[in-house]
């Protein structure tokens, strides 16, 4: 199943690249076309993932948060200062 998914994803990427690369290449920097063309696969992938997740609700449990008893007891703790970094960025007009 994983190989089948990889094949389909690869086919979709190749098709998308073949169709839209000339369009993107001919567009100038900041051109609306690039954003519009990039929006298509992003929108399609997000929509597909959300709809599939609605139909597939089985999930392995990896935590036991619902079964916690009492509070966390801290036996020992330490916070040792290491260093400070400071970045400065000029704000645009």
């Amino acid at each position: 199943m994983f190989r089948s998914l990889l094949r389909k994803a690869g086919f979709a990427l190749i098709s998308y690249g073949t169709l839209f690369t000339p369009l993107i290449a001919s567009a100038e920097d900041g051109d609306v076309t690039i954003a519009a063309v990039a929006g298509f696969p992003i929108g399609a992938i997000i929509t597909g993932c959300i709809l599939v997740s609605l139909s597939h609700t089985k999930e392995k449990a990896t935590k036991a948060d619902d079964y916690v008893h009492g509070k966390l007891k801290i036996n020992e703790q330490s916070d040792v200062y290491l260093r400070t970094t400071t970045d400065k960025e000029e704000i645009g007009d």
Binding site: F40, G43, A44, V52, H56, Y67, V68, N75, S78
Partner: protein
């Protein structure tokens, strides 16, 4: 040999079952209702461990599937104590319904001694509500139009699934690099200050009754997904709660299931310790953990299960018989997936174009 333990109405003597939505025993013939205490006062509800009858072995090739719809390949024979019919069921079945006379049958030998459960959560969801919930659940955008849930939903079975409940504590030693961030503006500049710390926490967290399903026949991920169960409804086990439902006893012992509980406990402990650290970000360096289990108990939990096939592919659905939580992987119509994805892509194009016009990507 007759399978034992069936329950009779103290008023009229007819077969009586546990009614999930009314939380009592209700006689279908005279309409009287009885609590567990009433049944025990009538001399029913418990198990006579000295007069339990054993199963008969199925000869090789004699039967290939159960007669009661239970899933399994290790089959044994019982005789219905009411009508004398032969019941073919899985070795780990603890309760079933005779397909010939419809009476509930509890296999005493599967719920005594080493197999005796400590607790049970009685069913709270009736089959009618199960059917309504499955209808809602299956109405998803990608569900194929010809997936006829009406035909298959009637096959849902109420089954008590065996669970091991682990109680104990976990001690975790957590080392990380923590970072606290501060931002401010001054004049025409934006400043970001990050302070880094070497963080160490040694903490202990307690856990009570972490459930792990103890049947090899049920899908572990599915049983995880229908959690949590509300333990306030958990009661000491009485065989009478099983009447009217199927039940399995464990076939994976507590040592075999322990690793799943251990992983969950360790992961939760790590998360809890992380949350106790007051930092904007933490980069974990190491986490040493030690789990100590001081009590392991055995309980039966209510679930509604459905095994079905659609286009030669098997599907499994489960519903928590107490809370009503429904899970499963529905079949997906690929044509609908492509169409909806393309529509999403068009929407993404429009949003991208708008963002481009507004100069967000300049």
């Amino acid at each position: 040999m007759a399978a034992n333990i069936s329950y009779k109405c103290p008023t009229c003597g007819a077969e009586i079952f546990w009614t999930a939505d009314k939380n009592c025993f209700e006689c279908e013939y005279c309409g009287d209702k009885f609590s567990m205490e009433d049944m025990e006062a009538d001399g029913q509800g418990g198990t006579d461990t000295e007069n339990v009858e054993a199963h008969e072995e199925v000869e090789e090739g004699e039967y290939h599937q159960s007669s009661d719809g239970t899933v399994g390949s290790d089959l044994v024979k019982y005789t219905c104590s009411h009508c004398g019919a032969e019941i073919i069921t899985d070795r780990a079945t603890a309760a079933t319904i005779c397909v010939y006379c419809g009476n509930a049958v509890v296999m005493g030998e599967q719920i005594i001694n080493d197999f005796a459960p400590d607790y049970v959560i009685p069913f709270k969801i009736e089959k009618k509500r199960v059917m309504e919930e499955f209808h809602k659940f299956s109405k998803k955008p990608l569900t194929p139009s010809d997936f006829d849930y009406d035909k298959i939903v009637d096959k849902m079975q109420g089954v008590y699934i065996p669970f091991w409940l682990y109680s104990g504590r976990c001690r975790g030693k957590f080392k990380a690099e923590g970072m606290k961030e501060r931002k401010w503006r001054q004049g025409k500049y934006k400043y970001t200050e990050c302070k880094y710390y070497d963080v160490y926490r040694d903490g202990t967290m307690g856990f009570a009754k972490v459930p792990v399903d103890a049947s090899s026949k049920t899908d572990n991920d599915a049983m995880d997904s229908i959690e949590p169960y509300d333990y306030k409804d958990m009661v000491p086990f009485k065989p009478a709660y099983l009447s009217g439902f199927l039940a399995e006893r464990f076939d994976e012992d507590k040592d075999a299931c322990y690793s799943r509980a251990k992983l969950r406990i360790e992961n939760s402990t790590e998360d809890i310790i992380k949350r106790s650290c007051d930092y904007d970000s933490l980069t974990k360096q190491s986490f040493k953990k030690e789990v100590v289990i001081h009590k392991t108990e055995y309980a039966l939990m209510p679930t509604w299960l459905l095994y079905t096939t659609y286009k030669d592919k098997k599907y499994f659905f489960a519903m928590n018989g107490q809370t009503g939580k429904f899970i499963g992987n529905l079949p997906i119509d690929k044509v609908k997936l492509v169409i909806f994805s393309a529509l999403g892509g068009v929407l993404g194009t429009v949003i991208g174009a708008i963002a481009g016009v507004l100069g967000l990507f300049a």
